[in-house]
Subunit: 381 residues, 3 copies
């Protein structure tokens, strides 16, 4: 499998531009790439039209995220399983990471934390729920590898709890001094990254056979050549960084104008935008009756954010932010993450999917979104 | 099956009164029906003997709930599976609904919320625990359809969480303004009813084969003719409404006199009374080694209250209450509902029941009841 | 099996001293027994060297706990299954009980509660995680009796919730008056002991075949003769009581000197010391591919503390403490116990163990320990 695809894509004269045009024909969402120059131009001409810049940058990030995701996969596939898996696992949430870095640099910690919590909730409820629903509308009952789903859910549960413990423990007594909280967050960030590294050792080396069905299924697409992929990876990451900066600069004013708080924007809008590319993959996998793959992407991506992206941002905040960021979330976010994780655990526990499982997950997501919209958190930390 | 029963009950000259007397012979609990005229008379003669009226109305509701439950089943069975299932699912908690409506009209929102939370906890712990215990004392180990139990528990978990999210999110920051809270509750109520309607579509239409064992088992009793059933349904509902009004009018003064708070009365007493009829069915099913049916009634009924009865009361409160009711519960109730749901999930997860599972569930219920009795909530909202 | 071992140990001229020396050869940890006279002497000579006394008493308790554990097992094995199981189940956490009694008598209720909560968390995360890790490093994937593990996890979950309900319900409104809280705790303690007694009836009498693999595996060691075992049981219990008194008397000053709060000492240090003996058994069972036994010891011991040791301490506090102890824990402890229990449930649910499951449990434990160290609870109740 993949032979005709490889022939097509390994054409020696292929250039970044040509591949991009070629891809757009197959995936119309990539056509939105024209918004990238548009948003950069707009920002020069109308630096104060925040709502316009916000909307344009949201639209521009979607095709960039899709390209990033494809390029990462291609590089991962070419460099052999161990390094490739490592790359895939590490760069899988590159879009979220770059957006968060832009927000971090601007000192918008509430936006950073909202987008982290939102990405976890969106992946576990919206992506998983959408996969169950779309897959279930086509197939009556879908069986999936329960052992694998359970492992992913277990990892996600522990990862979520790990991120949340400081919030849970500290909320209950008087809030700790900021320096104590920073010290705690730094130690936990290092611990979480170590757990993540061991998790990769486990899933890519010592027990890779347990994760077989997921990684196998992903090889099914045609892949770009290595040099091109790396070029795309670098160029697109820079573009995401550029657009993210515009996005972060406009989000606060735009959100106010549209009647949304930064928390709502981070939790729902950024999370949906950042995960757009992975969602496309998860949803089409579900319709192709490969629910294993959908669940792996949804829960694996959520776990990665909790175990890798969040701790990395804490470490990086020591160098680029106005002050070190902590791992303390506001308690509503804590509640939503735990509930989402428990729901994912319950839904993936049975080894069978049907459309109503999707309805339940999406309803929970709608409840969260609606609650956040009507009742924004007031705690600005 | 059911042929001799039908012959007996389709006698053309049968009247409401005759059927009632006939039923009493088989189910002695129906003899308590004499308390219905007694309580109505008592209320005319001694309108201020609150404790007497309270006790008499509690006793009078039990046989009415039993009749209501039988009549609903009979109408459901006669009108074909789709409409019947719809009716059964919608009217299954009619007693709770009517009592709550009476409390709603009197503006006793704490009583309404306590009885909703109490019904969920009572169904998941007391009814499930009693079924495990009574079934387990007769049968060493009881196997049950794990897939079905897991689906019911999953639905209940999501339903409970859904009702609780506003409470969970809003408790943590400063309490929101009342109008924000009402807006949120209205939106969530509509969403929950939509999820409930889709759940009926799922279980009665698209995936009814998954729920086969439960609905099949229920057809096992002799049923009343359709016209009679509808007559009983209407008459008994009116009687429940009458008695409920007396109950609600006397409960506050009586509770004080008996040393109980309205919260305790709503959580424990009303919940036990309202679920008395279903409990009889669940317990005898457990002793007949049909634990599937017991679990279906217990968890299904709890889910119905969270997904249907509570949202309907929110909507109705816009028309009959002094002001719109919200979905915000006091935090102790939230905790008890979540714990009860998790316990039910764990106990029904294994697919096997034994008497000690019942002891554990009942002990948890006793802990809740005792705690509420000794330490009543002080939050009057 | 065990024949050569029995021959060796049933030598008629054996005395307590000789057996002890014999054992030390096989289990070097018992060599630490020399610290018992050392710590008693030290306390006479330097009653104010708190840090020295603290460290010496911690070291002295480890071998005593190991001896106590062996003696209990031996007595249990000799007295027949029913009485033996009862003894084993009742005296299994004798070390924790004696240490807690010493702390209770000194009125150090925070230390008592921290060590109870810490023992539950240490058994469920550290002992279970260590077993998964050590077993998994030797065996690729370990299968275990899922039904049994699930039952133990279920019992533990309900036990933990039971202990926590008063804390959960009372935290949310204003704290109740002390006498109300004491009344509640007394009632719950009696209820929990009754549930525990019924649990023994269930696992030792009516459904003992469900627990077969665990009790069978434990008979595998060589056992001491009955008279000797009882003598050791009595003597060592007295020694533990003596050393515990020194430990409790020195812990507060020593902890301050070492930069730790009593809560951290109770939660981590006392819990690890008290469970040292059981840990040795659980870890070597895991390496011998008997993960059933490891899980049984870890979760069973945690459940015993919640269902038996904690309630007994409440009852005893009416006689020996300065005032009755309540079952109210500070909320951070509540959170950690619930999270630990949920993690244990998830990890033991699949019926398969691998080294990374151990890493996850140990990471969670490290997070708790680090958080407690950096951010001690301020609530002194």
């Amino acid at each position: 499998m993949g032979n005709p695809g490889e022939k097509q894509s390994i054409a020696p004269s292929s250039s970044v531009g040509r591949v991009v045009i070629d891809e757009i024909r197959h995936a119309p969402v990539l056509g939105l790439i024209v918004f990238v120059p548009v948003v950069i131009l707009l920002e020069r001409i109308f630096p104060d039209r925040h709502t316009l810049l916000f909307l344009a940058s949201v639209v521009a990030i979607v095709p960039l995220a899709a390209l990033l995701s494809r390029a990462t996969e291609a590089v991962a596939a070419k460099t052999g399983d161990a390094v490739g898996g490592l790359l895939n696992a590490t760069l899988g949430n590159l879009t979220e990471l770059v957006i968060s870095l832009a927000a971090l640099q601007a000192g918008q910690y509430l936006l950073v934390k909202a987008s982290l919590a939102g990405a976890i909730v969106t992946n576990t409820l919206f992506m998983l729920g959408g996969s169950f629903l779309l897959g279930g509308l086509k197939h009556h009952v879908q069986e999936f590898n329960r052992v694998n789903a359970r492992f992913q859910a277990c990892l996600l549960f522990l990862a979520t709890i790990a991120v949340l413990v400081p919030s849970l423990i500290s909320e209950v007594d008087q809030p700790p001094a900021l320096d104590v909280s920073q010290k705690l967050s730094l130690g936990l960030a290092i611990l979480l990254i170590a757990v993540y590294a061991l998790g990769m050792l486990f899933s890519l080396r010592t027990h890779r056979e347990l994760f077989a069905s997921v990684s196998h299924a992903e090889e099914d697409e045609k892949l770009w050549p290595l040099g091109l992929s790396i070029a795309i990876l670098v160029v697109v990451t820079l573009l995401v960084a550029l657009v993210s900066e515009i996005f972060v600069g406009s989000v606060q004013a735009a959100a106010e104008h549209l009647g949304m708080t930064p928390a709502f924007v981070g939790f729902i809008v950024v999370a949906l935008v950042g995960a757009a590319a992975e969602m496309t993959t998860a949803f089409s996998a579900a319709r192709a009756n490969r629910l294993d793959l959908s669940i792996g992407i949804a829960l694996g991506s959520a776990a990665q954010i909790a175990l890798f992206v969040a701790p990395v941002l804490v470490l990086v905040s020591y160098f680029i932010g106005p002050e070190p960021m902590t791992l303390q979330f506001w308690q509503g976010a804590v509640t939503m993450m735990i509930v989402a994780t428990l729901a994912a655990t319950l839904l993936s526990n049975g080894g069978r999917g049907a459309w109503y499982a999707g309805v339940m997950a999406l309803a929970l997501y709608a409840i969260f979104a609606f609650t956040l919209f009507v009742l924004p958190p007031t705690n600005p930390s």
